[in-house]
Amino acid sequence: MKKFDEVKIGDTLGPLELTVTKDQCRAYAKTSGFGDVAGRFTDEAAAKKEGLPGIILPGNMSLGLLSKLVTDWIGFGGARLTRMGTTYRVPVQPDHALTIHGFVTNINPDDRTVEIDVWIENEEAERLVTGTATVEFPK
């Protein structure tokens, strides 16, 4: 369990390396209820028809992956992830090696919160989705 007093600016989260398969992407889209209405998440041809390189991850799935990096870092039973903001710069494609990075950038002792930069990177070191997260520690 992460403790507030142990956190330092510059601390690294991850990196978390993973590959999301097309089937996982389809399953997420269908479970989320937009698999049938948005072919870009489930159907290669439909995605290409929209000008995309192929199936892409739903934005919420990328958000979930970024959140996982932070909640894994927090551990169980202590701090809470209270806010996450994201910018979707480039579509995230399944079957590509993704790396998720995070860095602690600010610590606010007054409200016991920590600010964290997070992003998903592809094999070319292109930042596909970037964001910031706020973690609140118990008082």
């Binding site: 600016i9 510059g10 903001g85 910018t87 710069r89 480039v90 860095f103 950038t105 600010n106 600010e115 930069d117 992003w119 070319e124 070191a125 292109e126 930042r127 970037t130 910031t132």
Partner: protein, 227 residues
């Protein structure tokens, strides 16, 4: 004495950034061995805050904080250095359809300089506009290295630099604290304020430097060994 400045950064004053200026400076101090920049230039989107005073932060961290602006034109996005009251009266910085040639010429006449940024980026970069429109006149430099570039974008910038003889600048285009200082511009002169920066930018005698951990090969940029 040289001066190395990150010429393209966005703080929380830009709508798409949450990075406080103080956090930027703290990060530079923390990572100074890997990203040895002497200062940053805040280039907020479509605005210029003439009231902002970063002197207390400059004193606290020993890092220079200068102000410029990133405006939007019919040839893509451009950094305006040396913004003054005359420019703010002449142009609506919030206008996303400014005429590039007018901005370049008028800013120069009023004592500043314009540098097209991320020129290799689709839609908002000079390269794509040059494919359908005549090249702009009186451009001294373009941003050769942008910390947010995707694969191929810096190479397209380099094509323009080779073809038109532009000077090369670098900037992180940081919207996140931890990305500050990834790319920068190294001047052979000592720069202490915005007037000095504008004066040096007009000479064309500087180079883009790349502090990204996984560096790309860009002929007009200098790769700096940091590890």
């Amino acid at each position: 004495m040289t001066t190395t400045l990150d010429l393209h950064t966005h703080s929380e004053a830009s709508e798409d950034s949450r990075a406080p200026v103080e956090a930027y400076l703290n990060w530079i101090k923390l990572r100074h061995v890997e990203r040895p920049v002497d200062g940053i230039v805040l280039t907020e989107h479509r605005q210029f805050n003439r009231e902002a005073d970063y002197r207390p932060l400059e004193d606290k961290f020993g890092i220079m904080v200068l102000r410029a602006s990133e405006v939007e034109t019919n040839y893509g996005h451009m950094l305006v250095f040396g913004v003054n009251d005359d420019m703010l009266a002449r142009f609506d910085f919030a206008n996303i359809r400014l005429d590039a040639q007018t901005v370049i010429d008028e800013v120069a006449r009023m004592g500043g300089i314009v540098v097209p940024c991320h020129p290799g980026r689709p839609n908002i970069g000079l390269y794509e506009h040059y494919e359908s429109k005549p090249p702009l006149e009186h451009v001294v430099a373009v941003e050769a290295l942008n910390g947010g570039s995707r694969k191929g974008e810096d190479a397209r910038a380099d094509e323009l630099i080779s073809k038109f003889g532009y000077a090369s600048t670098g900037g992180s285009d940081s919207h996140l604290v931890s990305l500050i200082g990834l790319c920068a511009t190294r001047f052979s002169a000592y720069i202490k304020d915005i007037d000095g920066l504008v004066r040096e930018l007009k000479t064309g005698a500087y180079e883009a430097v790349d502090f990204r951990p996984r560096r790309k090969v860009v002929p007009h940029a200098v790769a700096v060994e940091t590890r």
